[in-house]
């Protein structure tokens, strides 16, 4: 039994001649709106929009107070998406995320179990501090994130579309946390690091969000249907053989056991990127192409999304970690070498 059909996308064809122009315009408008609300995080906003329209999920890592939750709320408000928030704690149970059956007594006296959807059935789910949930609860998100469905008591419940999980985690205070397993990390299209805003951004933030929450008053400029239309349009973006080869070369370059891998990868990386990383790379690059007003992918699009796609999909060698090497530094060398060969 499939549920959630009410959330199926409403596909309306854009005019054939200006579909890409219209999508380009909408994406730029959305980005400008979020940039006004989320001050000083332009790159983060761009990646977040890319993930939304590429049907991906995002893991945001940053210190408390950098606006992660605020960004999720603003994105949901700007796109008119139904959103829910899950605050993860060690005693959070999987049913608290996916939902469960409750005993319902009907008016006629007949009693039955009825499935009550959890917060994961929202279109935009904010999973706050995901690394504080137990692995059992974390794994309850696996099926939802990968297959957009929840199976409960043998019954499959489809999730609404678009569906996006925005998870946050704190890089400090790791005591009492459960680091995400590699299998779960691989489900996220992007891992974004939230940096400190600059001085000018902080000054602008005082003007924007000192006494009010701008996301609460944000009017949507698009709806779920628009999101699905643009996502469908992005899937038709052309990918030339040169860019295909480039994407494959980049993923292969991160795999240390391959003969054509990067020298830096062989030195620092223990496990490279998976084929799912290749898919995420190309899907994200397609959205970047539409954001640039193109109907074809350029290698610059691949390069722009390479780091957030790959940084949580590689495992460094223990020696490199002890030397202070992090994934971003190792991947930066890999990406530079890859760009030089193009």
């Amino acid at each position: 039994m499939d549920e959630g059909d009410r959330a199926q996308p409403m596909t309306t064809e854009l005019p054939a001649d200006n579909a890409f122009a219209e999508a380009h315009r909408q994406l730029l408008e959305l980005r400008a709106l979020l940039d006004r609300v989320i001050v000083g995080q332009q790159e983060l906003v761009g990646h977040l929009i890319t993930a939304i329209f590429a049907s991906g999920h995002v893991l945001m890592e940053g210190l408390p107070g950098l606006g992660k939750t605020h960004l999720a709320k603003a994105l949901a408000a700007a796109l008119g998406l139904q959103w829910a928030r899950v605050q993860c704690t060690p005693d959070l149970m999987p049913a608290d995320v996916t939902g469960g059956e409750i005993y319902v007594t009907a008016a006629g006296g007949a009693s039955t179990f009825e499935f009550r959807p959890g917060p994961v059935f929202a279109q935009l789910v904010l999973v706050d501090e995901i690394n504080r949930a137990t692995p059992r609860t974390q794994s309850s998100l696996l099926e939802a994130m990968q297959e957009a469905q929840v199976t409960h008591a043998g019954v499959r419940h489809r999730l609404p579309s678009p569906f996006c999980v925005l998870a946050t985690q704190n890089p400090i205070e790791l005591e009492g946390t459960y680091p995400l397993p590699e299998a779960q990390l691989d489900r996220f299209m992007f891992k974004l690091t939230v940096p400190y805003p600059g001085r000018e951004s902080l000054l602008g933030m005082l003007d924007v969000s000192l006494d009010s929450e701008p996301a609460d008053t944000l009017l949507p400029i698009a709806g779920p249907a628009d999101v699905l239309q643009i996502a469908a349009l992005c899937r038709s973006v052309l990918l030339a053989g040169r860019c295909r080869d480039a994407a494959v070369d980049l993923v292969v370059a991160t795999q240390p056991d391959r003969g054509d891998s990067n020298a830096g990868a062989r030195r620092h990386i223990r496990y490279g990127a998976s084929p799912r990383a290749l898919q995420a790379l190309v899907r994200a690059a397609r959205v970047r192409a539409v954001m640039a007003g193109r109907s074809h992918v350029d290698v610059d699009d691949l390069a722009a999304v390479a780091l957030p796609v790959l940084r949580h999909r590689v495992l460094l060698r223990l020696e490199s970690e002890l030397d202070g090497m992090d994934a971003d530094t190792a991947l930066a060398a890999v990406i530079d070498g890859w760009r030089a060969r193009l």
Binding site: F20, S236, L238, A240, S295, H296
Partner: protein, 377 residues
């Protein structure tokens, strides 16, 4: 839609790439020609004469080959599109447009292709403008200049008719002299003969006054039947200055000529005795002839001849007090050992050579010395 513009752009880029290939070929040909000319000139100077015409033909073949290969490699549309995307801001549009991968039959792809064509057409003016502003990346001036300079130099060298290498000429002359070849340059023969005569005269003049003194000194070698002044010297006999240091002592000629080195070798013998001054008084054998005993332990011929000289002046060597009494202040600055002055006074000067005629070996030696002296001047 927009195909002529794209075609025009591709053709313009193809012409540009073709010109770049041609310039690259010219640059390579220039450097190759310069290297070829220099190599030909070097071969002409060292090994064998090279006709200039053949070298020029070789250079022409190099130019023709490189230019033909550049003209043969016509850049394809894919090459031009890739070059536009890489260098003119094409953003992979031209590559994608010419890529056979997308299927235009699919509606979504058809829509994307139409947008791509519009995008490319809009991009064409900027691409052409960038192409016009682009400077040639291959520079040929340096290679052409190198080719001109090297060719001029090489042609000058190749035009020289007498290109016998001077080193080879010297080697052949020395070989001819050594073998007594009468074809030795005639201009050097009188000079050599005159020089040999001068040397012989000088030796005779310095030898005559010291002859009685040498006889008084008890030089036993002077009483030998092979004294040089008793008669004409056989051709095999050599003056003392030409005797090798390791010649056998039993040879009569060398024994008779050994006194020539008396001034030096006596000093060496005394110094050997002084060095072993403590040893000299340890055993009667050492006192009798320390030079002999030391010469017997060594393998160098020079001390052996010196010990022979010391054997000739046994009265002085037997004076142990004199051997032990080493006076540093009396030593010459050249490092002569104690007693060297006395021994040098007792040594006989070089014995005169009766005949001024030199053997072939001696003549070649004198000529080589004369040449070496002339070069050093």
């Amino acid at each position: 839609m927009g195909e002529p513009d794209v075609r025009t752009t591709l053709d313009a880029v193809r012409r540009h790439l073709w010109r770049e290939h041609g310039r690259l070929a010219v640059r390579r040909a220039g450097w190759l020609s310069a290297a070829t000319m220099l190599l030909a000139a070097a071969v002409h100077l060292v090994a064998l004469p090279m006709p200039a015409g053949a070298v020029l033909w070789l250079v022409a073949i190099e130019w023709a080959t490189l230019l033909a290969s550049a003209a043969w490699r016509r850049p394809s549309d894919a090459d031009c599109a890739l070059w536009i995307d890489r260098h003119l801001g094409g953003a992979s549009a031209f590559t994608t447009l010419l890529d056979p991968g997308p299927t235009p039959q699919a509606p979504a792809n058809a829509q994307s292709l139409r947008w791509l064509e519009r995008w490319v057409v809009a991009k064409v003016p900027g691409v052409l403008r960038s192409l016009e502003e682009r400077r040639p990346s291959v520079r040929v001036a340096r290679s052409l200049l190198a080719m001109v300079v090297c060719s001029t130099l090489a042609l000058f060298v190749l035009s020289l008719s007498d290109t016998m290498p001077s080193a080879a000429r010297r080697a052949s002359a020395a070989q001819a002299v050594a073998s007594g070849d009468p074809s030795t340059p005639s201009i050097e023969a009188p000079v050599a003969a005159q020089l040999a005569g001068d040397i012989a005269t000088a030796l005779r003049s310095t030898d005559l006054p010291s002859e009685p003194q040498r006889r008084r000194g008890g030089d036993t070698s002077a009483a030998g039947p092979t004294r040089a002044d008793d008669g004409p010297m056989p051709p095999s006999a050599s003056p003392a200055t030409l005797v090798p240091a390791d010649a056998p002592l039993a040879q009569p000629d060398s024994r008779s000529l050994a006194t020539v080195e008396g001034g030096v070798s006596a000093g060496r013998g005394r110094s050997a005795g002084a060095l072993s001054g403590h040893d000299a008084g340890d055993s009667p054998d050492a006192r009798a002839d320390p030079g002999v005993s030391r010469a017997a332990t060594g393998t160098i011929a020079q001390p052996r001849s010196a010990s022979t000289l010391r054997g000739a002046g046994a009265e002085r060597q037997a004076d142990m007090e004199q051997a032990a009494g080493f006076d540093e202040s009396a030593s010459p600055p050249g490092g002569a050992r104690p007693g060297a002055e006395v021994a040098a006074a007792a040594a006989a000067p070089p014995r005169a050579v009766a005949a001024a005629r030199l053997s072939a070996t001696e003549t070649s030696y004198v000529e080589a010395w004369m040449k070496a002296t002339g070069r050093s001047r």
